[in-house]
Every structure is written in C-alpha cells, then in structure tokens.
C-alpha cells in the first residue's frame, strides 16, 4: 500500500516538473531580446541604406552611422532583456523553442544583409 502511494507521488512530481518551463527568467528574457535585436539589426541596415535622411541622422548622432547602429542595438538588447525578464514574457517557452527562434532570427538577418549587398558582388 505504502509502495503504491510513493509511486503515485513520484508520478505526480514528474508530471509537475514536465509541465513547468525549464528556463530561467533572465535566460528567457534576454533570449527573446536577442531574437528581436537580431531582426532589428537587418531592418536598421536596410532603412539607413535606403533613406539618406536616416543615414545622415545616424552619422550626426555619434559621428559614424556604424557606431550609432551598434550602440542603439546594444541599448535595445539590454532594455528589452530587462523588460522581458521582469514581465516574464514567454513564460511557457522552453530552451528548444528559444533555440529555434534565436537560430531563425540569426539566419533571417544574415540572409537579409547578404541579399541586400549581393548586387554589388555580382556587379
């Protein structure tokens, strides 16, 4: 009888652990921030290369468009990371889902950047 109860308790504990997310809030928050920032990197690149007014603003802000681009991305990464961590965004996500999103965001941004400059290589 006792043995059966212990087994039941173990099964319940295992089920609870399986249903819980296995991610720490900072790991998840900054991971989500990484996804957003990676995509933002490609978007900023396209916008500044297409719009000369945006490029001029970025040059004027910190002396060089690339410096402004980098500082802005780092700023967004930290702020979003803190906000997502505090708000508990994506609380039900696990490491596998985050891995797919991070990998996807890196692949998409790399493809956008490469394709954007590809005509220069072909020319």
């Amino acid at each position: 009888m006792k043995k059966t109860n212990i087994k039941k308790n173990k099964n319940i504990q295992t089920a609870v652990i399986k249903n819980k997310t296995n991610m720490n809030k900072y790991s998840l928050g900054f991971g989500l921030s990484l996804v957003v920032t990676n995509l933002l990197n490609a978007v900023i690149l396209v916008v500044k290369e297409v719009s000369s007014s945006v490029m001029n603003v970025m040059k004027a802000a910190l002396g060089h468009h690339w410096t402004t681009h980098g500082v802005f991305l780092l700023f967004v990464f930290v702020i979003l990371g803190v906000v997502f961590s505090i708000k508990g965004a994506g609380a039900k996500w696990d490491s596998r889902k985050l891995m797919y999103y991070i990998s996807g965001s890196v692949i998409i941004s790399v493809v956008i950047i490469t394709v954007f400059f590809l005509p220069y290589l072909i020319a």
Binding site: N22, M23, N24, Y26, S27, F30, G31, L34, T37, N38, N41, A42, L45, G63, H64, W66, T67, H69, G70, L73, L74, F77, D94, S95, R96, L98, M99, I102, S103, V106, S109, V110, I113, T114, F117, L118, Y120, L121, A123
Partner: protein, 152 residues
C-alpha cells in the same frame, strides 16, 4: 604602425574568441559536474574576447578604414568593400549579441545535462563559430582588396 597594431589585435581577439567557442562547444557536448566550472569560464571568455575584438575593430574602422576603403574602391576589387566589408560590419552585430548572451544562457539555464538546455548553448556556439569563420575570411578578402588597390 598603430593602424596595423589595432588591426592585428582585432583579428587576434576575434580568433581567440572563436577558439574558445569551439572549446566550449566540445565541453558542452560532454557537459557534467566535472567540467561545469570550465564551461562557465569559457562562456565568459567568449563574451569578453568578442567584445574586446568589437571595440578595437570598431575604433579601427571609424578611425583608419576610410583611407583604405578609398584604395579598395579605386582598385580592381571594389566588391571587397562594397560587399564583404559591408556584410561583415553588419553581421558582426549578430555575433556580438550572441557572444554577450552566451554566458547568460550558460549561467542561468541549468542544468546543462538537460538535452534542451544543452542544445540551446550548442546552437549559440555553432552560430558564433560559423559567423566568426566568415569574419576571418571576409577580413582576408578586404586586406587583399587593399593590396590589389595599391598595385593600381
């Protein structure tokens, strides 16, 4: 001379960062209690080395690269700047952010013996290594673009 010194240290720290990412990848594959301390140190080393490489490379790019860009664009390999440098300087941000996130994933996402946690860190390491290898190759092409530009 200072110009060359900055450039060489940018490459040096970048290569060391990639090598630490390779070592970390292997350690995480065999993650356990014995090597967890080393995994934590390596993840921090990758972040620090990539950030140092970014700061030195960024300073060099903003301060010295303008003259070399003009040489490349006037030479036979203008695409060394127009494609490789442009792509390199922007994809580097992805590597920088992955590098900064790596220790967070290692320190806060435990235990690494869990397959999902392990795969997340492995994927980040793999992306840093692949982007890093591209950085090194693109850097080589850009240097060659300057040499060819100087030949006229």
């Amino acid at each position: 001379m200072l110009n060359q010194g900055f450039m060489m240290s940018h490459v040096l720290f970048g290569v060391l960062g990639i090598l630490c990412a390779v070592a970390l990848f292997m350690d995480v594959l065999n993650a356990g209690e014995k090597n967890y301390q080393r995994i934590k140190i390596l993840s921090l080393a990758v972040a620090v080395l990539i950030v140092i490489s970014f700061l030195i490379g960024g300073y060099w790019y903003v301060t010295y690269y303008g003259a070399e860009r003009d040489i490349i664009k006037a030479g036979a390999w203008p695409w060394a700047h127009n494609f490789f440098m442009e792509v390199k300087e922007h994809i580097f941000f992805a590597m920088l952010l992955l590098g900064i996130y790596l220790p967070i994933a290692v320190y806060k996402n435990t235990p690494l013996t869990n397959r999902k946690n392990k795969n997340l860190v492995l994927a980040i390491c793999a992306m840093i290594i692949l982007i890093g290898i591209f950085m090194e190759g693109a850097g080589g092409i850009i240097s060659k673009g300057v040499t060819i530009g100087l030949r006229g």
